[in-house]
Symmetry: C2
Subunit: 477 residues, 2 copies
């Protein structure tokens, strides 16, 4: 195995010289080399091709979505998903398959309905935000006051919103890197708390979404210390309609009814399995995804696809002629969606061995094709990942990796992280809606993601490169 590593390093050195000769080195400009992967060595090319030809990941996400389906934290579906995870890891032949208990909240959506009452009556397609309190049994009927942004709402006089239903009408931009989500999601996360503190009766948001279907997008909200008021998302066409009614200049009245409520906490689990390293089993490459989903769809893109990607990646690498030197640890996290319970529990339970985590990665963006690589590692680790990006014909992206939400609790320990940046152009059409179903996963795209994971993880797991620690400075999440 060591000689194989040595020959790989020699080869990489050669490529580095070639790159210098070509005037390369600025990998942020690697776009033009993306269409071919001239530098992929034969073993990696074979691994990539095997991944591209395999439908294992698609079969896994089909199994999870068809046989289990919706699996929100605390639900019966979630318990079945944990059983599915254990059984699947065992079936795939993983080592050390076990669960670790995680306490999770148990919020239930109940019945959600609403209607615009005036000036032009319409039934409204809406859904409660995750964690929302319910309305009184008779619902809430009040005048609507609209704001285009959270900032405009925050700076409004309390008197303007007291006793009203507030409508936050911010639109989300569609981009390949999905940054529009992060830019828009504060209306969902923080809007209801702002509303509660200002004396509003309820908050409605335009779905944080790029699609345009009558299927509203849920997602977690957090009240903090603010008075808890009911909060719901309107589908994009319904938000358009409410905006048109507001724009008419006539008083707009809305009726909202939610029977959502929070039940006592439940115990769920992180599901963990390993492909033990051949020569450095104590060094861990962590491959994460989250097993929970929202309740509305069957959790195919969020995050059945991610579970399938990391499971299929580990299975592929377990079958290589030379097993990776380092251990691959697959973790299917509990309750990412409503408070990162699984990620926090993992960081705490494994605190003592975080120094042995040579890399952490998460798959949580559906089946969007991989276009780039980002890192938050040591300089040597970054050099290695740059070489992988180049060899796979992927763009190098200077934005520091964030590793995915479930790995964010590892940041304090400076665990090295990498992201395979997936195309997010379509992801936010269906994410957190009833439309998150198997047909939204493209089998070919999914195989491309697995192929990228497999080659990158193989390279890191068979390299002696010291990947950490990650740089201390991180952008705020």
């Amino acid at each position: 195995m060591l000689s194989a590593l040595r020959s790989r390093l020699v080869r990489m050195g050669g490529l580095a010289l070639l790159t210098l000769a070509l005037g390369g080195g600025d990998w942020a400009g690697a776009k033009s080399t993306r269409s071919s992967a001239p530098a992929l060595d034969p073993a990696d090319a074979a691994l990539r091709d095997q991944a591209l030809a395999s439908d294992l990941a698609f079969q896994l996400v089909a199994s999870l979505t068809n046989e289990v389906g919706a699996r929100p934290a605390g639900s019966a579906g979630n318990a079945r998903a944990v059983e599915w995870g254990v059984a699947t890891m065992k079936r795939l032949g993983f080592d050390e398959v076990h669960t670790e208990p995680v306490t999770v909240p148990h919020w239930v959506r109940g019945e959600n309905s609403g209607e615009i009452m005036a000036p032009w009556p319409h039934a409204a397609a809406l859904t409660a935000l995750g964690g929302s309190v319910g309305t009184p049994e008779e619902g809430i009927t009040a005048e609507v006051v609209a704001f285009p942004t959270l900032e405009a709402f925050q700076s409004a006089d309390d008197e303007k919103v007291r006793g009203k239903i507030v409508f936050l009408d911010r639109h989300m931009e569609r981009t390949r890197d999905g940054r529009g989500y992060g830019e828009t999601v504060p209306i969902r996360r923080d809007g209801p708390a702002v509303g509660g503190s200002k004396g509003a009766l309820a908050v409605l948001i335009r779905s944080v979404a790029t699609g345009s279907h009558r299927l509203p997008h849920t997602g977690a909200t957090r009240y903090g210390d603010a008075p808890k008021i009911p909060a719901a998302a309107l589908s994009v066409p319904d938000a358009d309609l409410l905006a048109a009614e507001v724009a008419s200049g006539q008083p707009v009245r809305f009726h909202l009814k939610l029977t959502s409520r929070t039940l006592p906490d439940e115990t769920s689990a992180n599901v963990i399995g390993e492909v033990r390293g051949s020569t450095h089993p104590e060094e861990i490459v962590l491959l994460g995804a989250h097993l929970d989903s929202w309740d509305l769809g069957t959790g195919a893109i969020d995050d059945g696809a991610g579970c399938a990607i990391v499971l299929a990646t580990a299975k592929l690498l377990a079958g290589l002629p030379h097993r990776p030197a380092r251990t691959l640890r697959v973790v299917l996290f509990a309750n990412e969606e409503f408070g990162l319970s699984g990620g926090r529990a993992y960081a705490k339970a494994h605190e003592a061995e975080l120094g042995k985590h040579v890399l952490g990665m998460e798959a949580d963006l559906g089946s969007g094709r991989v276009w780039g690589v980002r890192a938050a590692t040591s300089p040597a680790g970054t050099d290695l990942l740059k070489s992988v990006a180049r060899d796979l014909g992927l763009e190098w992206n200077e934005t520091p990796a964030d590793g995915g939400a479930d790995l964010s609790p590892l940041e304090a320990a400076r665990v090295p992280l990498a992201d395979l940046a997936q195309d997010a152009s379509a992801y936010f059409n269906d994410h957190h809606t009833a439309d998150d179903t198997l047909d939204k996963v493209d089998p070919k795209d999914l195989a491309q993601v697995v192929s990228s994971f497999a080659v990158l993880v193989s390279r890191v797991a068979s390299s002696p490169t010291v990947m950490g620690p990650a740089p201390e400075a991180k952008p705020s999440r």
Copy 2:
């Protein structure tokens, strides 16, 4: 006006000669000339350009969908839509605006829900078919038996389906001409009657649809003399899921609950307005669309867009320097969706003057761009329409025009018909669903449809061509 007509005829003769010189004449092969419209005379080109630059049609469909919204037969929304139609025609300056009473059925959807109970439990997104009876209050729970086509169901032993819930799992093909709809719709129209006659407890169909969203597609079913059993459509992803459960080979159980029911008939109305002809006002070019919609969406593509197209076309032609010689009669029909009540009532009420209907056209395919022309007219009428197709750069399609559903009751009287064939590739993604909303109407495409209607109607309405009678033989509808 007569001299204008004469000069137009001279010009058309000249074009016919030019066509011969170019070896033309087979207009079915006109595809290659579609990208340019070299033969459009200046007045028609100006009319086309005026239509393309106008947002009148989009403003009209926005007004109907925002201010009225869902307007199924018999509903309060339908009554508001009739008021909207009258007010809009008056506002546009039409002559002879009036309503004609139409008796319509009043079916109400009620609450519709269902779930796959075994082997893998899932909530199911479904909706009752129009006209369906309800289930008992406790719902219906039974084993599922699936058939890929209506024919396979029809030929199955009654014993195989008695006491079962039948699942008709036929897929619809996506085509530009929308023929996949006609090929697939028998499962919806006739499947429940077949089920009733065979002793099934209920019928579920895969939505007759090209889209893939958790928004099921409703549409009328008819029981005839068969026992009435509850009937519902599953959304496409839910049909995929049920098919996967059936394919597992395990017994599949389903629970269905519908509170749908039929109330006493109501009186609605056809809304009629004219742009009176300048020299031959007794000759009528009929422009139809239907004012009713299904209840789930706001009826933007079906058929708010059609209402807007015919209203905008008539308004544009009313504003020409020379008003058309013949009368344009815009009819917004009552209740197309659930039995063609308005179309039948019009044919009966206007029986005596059907011989004066020189052409009938309907717009009922959303805002899909016009790509072709079809006719069912006299040979002279067909020659005129072929010249219009050529001049507009549209394909000539040899399939006989059907004029649209509302005009089908006029066929017996051999009223000449024309179709401007619209691109149906996307129409059946959203048709008959909650997703039939304003955002599905493309303003630019809609203006292109109006431009085609305006030029064609202008040519026919200002021509002395005897357009009828239509050929007797018609393909069965």
